[in-house]
Amino acid sequence: MSLLTIENLTIGIPRGSAAPLAIVENASLWLQPGEMLGLIGESGSGKTMLCRSLIGTLRRRGAAILSGRITLAGTDLAHTDERAWRDIRGRRVGYVPQSALAGPNPVMTIGAQLREAILQGTPGADVPARARELLDLVQIRRPELVLAQYPHQLSGGMRQRVMIACAIAGTPELLVADEPTTGLDVTVQAGIMQLLRDIRARLGTAIILVSHDLALVDDVCDRILVMHAGACVEAVPAHAAPRHPYTIALNRSRIELAEPGTPLVTIAGQPPSVGAWPPGCRFAARCDIAQPDCRLGPHPPMRGEAHANACLHPERAA
């Protein structure tokens, strides 16, 4: 039984009498309890919007769910009003923002922010005890000191640990981490990734880790969902050979595997912009093996269970 199921989800920006502008189209994914899923794609591929649909903050960006279903352990998240979201956010779905951008509130102490998160997650909780427990979970030593500090007194890695503590305060079933280590140093990044894995192991939390770094998610996740121009193109188990031409090209363009002095593989062109999606597969214009039928009809859906692929001609991809 899946913890999370997304079926044919389309997210867009309503434009009055004109047709809404689709940002994510017919996205589908499933997640087992305790599973760690990597979500990757270039800027503008729709990965952040997909995450926002899971914490009910699409409207803050002027977007809305146009069609499709999101089910979290029996709860319908696609037709949830703001009032109901307050019981879901923090309690059933936790969210870790990008470190550099939406960090902690600069004018509140860590203790005050953690208190807010704890009471949102578990009304009536013993706040001081739970705060120490959470800081211990995210491996912050000297919790008494940190609780009295303001965000600017902490390093980027420590701040992100605090954000993770806030996100898991309500022991959510699902944690969504949107590029949690962007802008952090590699050693700090490695520490945060280890922490996410520890949390998954200790609390059984399912995690969606958003990144544009294929190498990173391949290292730490169980499966990887690849998005391109608003469509899900492949869901591939970690360490397995990719089958969609886009994922294959991404994998080949990995710098850490390249031989110094040899040209790197690049992907021709740019992904099509939102509002200018061509018919058929949106990768076709950048694809070496595209066939005439790739440019017809709607974007092909992903087919397959354990390893799903949207390519119409997987036998040609290699």
């Binding site: 270039e42 800027s43 980027g156 802008g183 140093d185 590699v186 050693t187 700090v188 990044q189 490695a190 990734m193 544009h212 770094d213 294929l214 190498a215 990173l216 391949d218 290292d219 730490v220 360490h239 397995a240 050979a241 990719p242 089958r243 294959i248 090209a249 991404l250 994998n251 363009s253 990995r254 710098i255 850490e256 595997l257 390249a258 110094p260 002095g261 040209p263 790197l264 593989v265 690049t266 992907i267 740019q270 991809a317 290699a318």
Partner: protein, 257 residues
């Protein structure tokens, strides 16, 4: 051994009581690429700014083709100025949002070389084309370009001076993986044409790919330096070992049969 293009000896930089760079020494030969790696606060960007002539050091000496860079109050005086150019991390912040990529590069062309507007435009279009930006995209403003295109436009602008040395501070940090590969291929081609590149990055994979020699900085000091391949295979300093162990994805994803 050829004479170094740029060399630094005993370079230190203090901001108040903080020593951002301590007794750093390095050199780069013509056509060579070197990397400076380290974490936030390690002093690598400060050292880069000192080498680029943007920040006089508290102590020490920087020589360009044997001439002191910071002599007489002006860094890289006269004709030396154009020989060293810099590319920054944030391609959006380093391009004027109200100018097209073409206008931004043409402005730099006319700054560095006395030429007509028509000549500057032709030369800029050529530079942008070499960076993979066609004439249509060249006439777009930065917000309509992708991050990778913006960064390549910044490189075109830097190259308009026909520099001997390019100092790139985290050029790939803010762009997508496939755009990174494009930019690194461009840098690779430029090295083949005799340009020297100093690459500052916290991304060791990028440095491993592009730099022949690498300097590892921590707390303002260069703690390890050597041939990149050697340093990556046999890191000596514990800090270098920790850095290399943190690189994601050194285990190759198996390739399709």
């Amino acid at each position: 051994m050829t004479a170094p293009l740029l060399s630094a000896r005993g370079v230190s930089m203090r901001f108040g009581r903080v020593a951002a760079v301590r007794d750093a020494a390095l050199s780069i030969e013509p056509g060579e690429s070197i990397g400076i790696v380290g974490e936030s606060g390690s002093g690598k960007s400060t050292l880069a700014r000192i080498l680029a002539g943007l920040q006089p050091p508290s102590e020490g000496e920087v020589l360009f083709r044997g001439q002191p860079v910071y002599a007489g109050g002006i860094a890289y005086p006269g004709p030396l100025r154009r020989q060293v150019q810099m590319v920054f991390q944030d391609p959006y912040g380093s391009l004027n949002p109200r100018m097209t990529a073409l206008a931004a590069v043409a402005e730099a062309c006319r700054f560095h070389e006395r030429c007509s507007a028509a000549e500057a435009t032709a030369r800029s279009l050529d530079l942008l084309a070499r960076m993979g930006i066609g004439p249509d995209d060249a006439r777009k403003k930065p917000r309509l370009l992708s991050g990778g295109q913006r960064q390549r436009a910044s490189v075109a602008r830097a190259l308009s001076a026909s520099p001997a040395l390019l100092i790139a501070d985290e050029p790939t940090s803010a762009i997508d993986q496939s755009a990174q590969a494009q930019l690194l291929n461009l840098f690779h081609g430029l090295l083949g044409q005799g340009l020297s590149i100093i690459l500052i990055s916290h991304d060791l994979a990028v440095v491993r790919y592009l730099a022949r020699r690498v300097h590892v900085m921590r707390d303002g000091e260069i703690v390890e330096a050597g041939e990149t391949a050697t340093v990556f295979e046999h890191p000596q300093h514990p800090y270098t070992q920790a850095l290399i162990a943190s690189i994601p994805g050194r285990k190759p994803k198996e390739t399709a049969p």
